[in-house]
Amino acid sequence: MRTGIGENQKHARFQALCQSLRPDLLRFALWLSRDRSVAEDVVQEALLRAWKAQDALLDEKAAKPWLLTIIRREYARTFERKRVPTVDVDDLIASEEPALAGGEDPDLVELRLAIYRLPLEYREPLVLQVLMGFSTAEIGQQLGLTTAAVLTRLFRARRQLRVLCGEDVSQDPEDDGL
């Protein structure tokens, strides 16, 4: 197998693209798994798969959702491959708390712990929106949901977060089928 100059340039370009996206991909995997070692494994495996399948990426602008899809599938595979023990969320939070702090202010740590406590169905769209900058329609595409369903989940995610953080929610609208 001979690798031409064009191929090398293509690989270098793809590598640079992945480099720029990797920090947020790792953060996304961390929010998804709530486990640093699982997140690192998932991102490493996902990038390896992406590198092998890079010809499938026809438009660089689509790289972020494409890589996220690979990461979500890879994360699902970790549960197919091995039985992942059920961990109590309080134990999980206790073990991850120093890592969540990162020398930052207590308010941020409190908010991060609250995000950890959100069910995955709310945590995932919220992180896609706030961290990855996805629009509601893009989140719907990624998760296979209608725009209305995404909006409901995002509304519930923020409302639950605000309750968990002890914010004044007296002026928040009730969750009565909005």
């Binding site: 202010d105 995000i115 909006l151 995002l154 928040d172």
Partner: protein, 247 residues
């Protein structure tokens, strides 16, 4: 006409997507305007919170140690193995490069918007004087009106410098607020977009770009290395609360 319940639900679902209908409601309803400020402050914290600190040291080590794929022993297997090894080597170097590159990416200033803001500062050194002189309300109004805004001097703090500056093809307000810890510069960048806060530390300036849902972003920066991110956030939120967009 949108009611308060639907306005607030829409804001909670996506605080960055403020529609014209929502803007109409928000500008005519004092309770919802107050609610919006609280949600925006919460959102600024949320955007900072999701940017988890990354495990840099562990990650760098892991990146260089991709497990090799199984190698077959037969003659035909050797060809496959040779290809596999080459493939694995390429993949390993890719992963290693990504990991090391990721660390470098984290270490270098990467926002050209932040870079442009810092470069702009160098053009106006007089803005950094520590002073107790306040810009007159008329001069402040003139600067803000250029950008279709009004600034409430009562809540903005001590504004010692106000200039309408050309920045990326638009006139934007460049303000200096005299904080007890020293002067802090703020640029209101209505024409820029930012989905999440971006910290920067370039050429002796430290600061952040903060998104303002529906109204672009605010850049805030200081030369005082002792002023922490929380203090910058406080000043930015104070300014943001004092601004009323009039367009």
């Amino acid at each position: 006409m949108m009611d308060c319940k639907h306005y607030r639900a829409a804001l909670l679902a996506d605080p960055a997507a403020v529609t014209a209908e929502m803007r109409d409601h928000g500008s005519g309803c004092a309770a919802c305007a107050q609610f919006t400020q609280r949600i925006q402050a919460f959102e600024a914290r949320l955007q900072r919170a999701v940017r988890l600190p990354l495990p840099e040291a562990r990650d760098a080590g892991r990146g260089a140690s991709v497990s090799p794929l199984p190698i077959a022993a037969s003659a035909s297997g050797r060809r496959v193995a040779s290809r596999t090894l080459r493939w694995t080597a390429l993949a390993a170097s890719f992963i290693a490069a990504i990991s090391v590159g990721g660390l470098l990416w984290l270490a270098v200033p990467r926002s050209s918007l932040a870079g442009d803001v810092v470069n702009h500062m160098a053009e106006e050194p007089e803005a950094w004087r520590r002073t107790t002189a306040v810009v007159s309300p008329a001069a402040l109004d003139a600067v803000m009106q250029d950008a279709h805004m009004h600034l409430s001097a009562a809540t903005a703090g001590l504004v010692s410098y106000a200039s309408s500056c050309g920045f990326r093809g638009h006139q934007v307000p460049h303000l200096v607020v005299q904080d007890p810890s020293g002067p802090v510069t703020v640029m209101v960048l209505v024409h820029e977009s930012a989905r999440s806060p971006d910290d920067f530390d370039e050429q002796g300036y430290r600061g952040e770009i903060l998104p303002v849902p529906g109204h672009g972003a605010i850049a805030i920066l200081t030369r005082n290395q002792r002023l922490d991110a929380a203090a910058l956030d406080r000043i930015a939120l104070q300014l943001r609360a004092a601004i009323r967009w009039t367009n």
